[in-house]
Symmetry: C2
Subunit: 131 residues, 2 copies
DNA sequence: TCTTGACTCTATAGTTACTATAGAGTTTAA
DNA sequence: TTAAACTCTATAGTAACTATAGAGTCAAGA
C-alpha cells in the first residue's frame, strides 16, 4: 500500500503520515524501486490506533506512551488507566471552562441592546471597563 | 511605565507584549534614552482590552477587528454583535464536542476492570479494534 | 565612584500539530 | 509515447506564544 492509499484509508493526510514517521510514531516503511513508501497491514493498524487516540484528543506524546505500553505486552496497564483518567479530568476541566466562558459571552451579548454606534456599544464598553 | 511593570499589571508576559507590538495589536511606544520602551496609560488600557478579549478565547484576529471598530466610534456595532454571536456558537459547539469526548472516555475507562498486563488491557483493546 | 544584580533590548529558534509549496522524480493508463 | 496523477525531500508557514543568547541600561548599595 502506498502512502496515498494509506492516507485515504486512515483519515490522516499524507503530510501527517510523514510527520508521524519523522516523530517516530510510525515505523520507517520499506520502499519501492522508485523510492515510494510501501506500507503493510501492521503499520496501517498502528496508524489507525494513533488516529483513534487523536480522535480522543490525546496529545501525540500521550499516544506515544500508549504505543510504548502496547508494544510490551507484559507491562502493567495501570499506566494506561492513569493516563486516560488524567485525560478525562482535563476534559472535564475544559468543559467547565467553556461553560463559564459561554455564560460570560451570553451576559456580554445582552449588553448589546440595539444597533448602536461603536461609541455606544454595550459590548465594547464591557470589554473596556475594569471589572 | 516600562515593559516589566506593564507586564505585571496587565497579566501578559514581556515577550507577549513585544509580540503584540510586532503584530500591530499595540502601538509602538516611545523610548527612553537607554532605548527602553515607555508605555502610557492609553497603551496600558489597550492591552487590558486585549487581555479581556483573550480571556474570552477570542483569536488575535478577532481582537484586531474589535480594536478596529472601537477606534472608529461612528462605525456600526453590528459587527461586534455578530462576532460575539459567532464566537458563542463556536464555544457551544466545543462544549458539545468535549461532552461527547467525555462520554467516550468514561466508556473507555470502564473497559479497564482490573490491573492487567498490557496484553489484556481493556482500554488498549478498545483502541485497537475497529468500531 | 564602582560594582553588581535586575532589567531591557534584538534576533533567533523552539513548542504543538500540523499544512502548504517548490522542484524534481516515478507511475500508470490511454 | 505522453500526460496526468502520484510521490519524494526540503523548507517554510500557521496560531500564539515561549525561551534563550549576547549585549546594553539602570539603580541601589558599598
Amino acid at each position: 500500500m502506498k502512502i496515498g492509499e494509506l492516507a485515504r484509508r486512515s483519515g490522516c493526510s499524507i503530510q501527517t503520515i510523514r510527520y508521524y514517521e519523522k516523530l517516530k510514531l510510525l515505523p520507517i516503511p520499506s520502499r519501492s524501486e522508485g523510492n515510494f513508501r510501501l506500507y503493510d497491514i501492521k503499520i496501517f493498524e498502528q496508524l489507525k490506533f494513533i488516529k483513534r487516540c487523536k480522535d480522543l484528543d490525546l496529545t501525540l506524546d500521550e499516544i506515544r506512551k500508549l504505543l510504548s505500553i502496547k508494544s510490551e505486552p507484559n507491562q502493567e496497564c495501570d499506566d494506561v488507566n492513569r493516563l486516560i483518567e488524567r485525560h478525562l479530568e482535563r476534559v472535564e476541566f475544559k468543559i467547565a471552562e467553556f461553560r463559564q466562558l459561554r455564560a460570560q459571552l451570553i451576559s456580554l451579548r445582552q449588553a448589546c441592546s440595539e444597533n448602536n454606534k461603536a461609541v455606544d456599544c454595550g459590548i465594547l464598553k464591557q470589554l473596556t471597563k475594569d471589572s
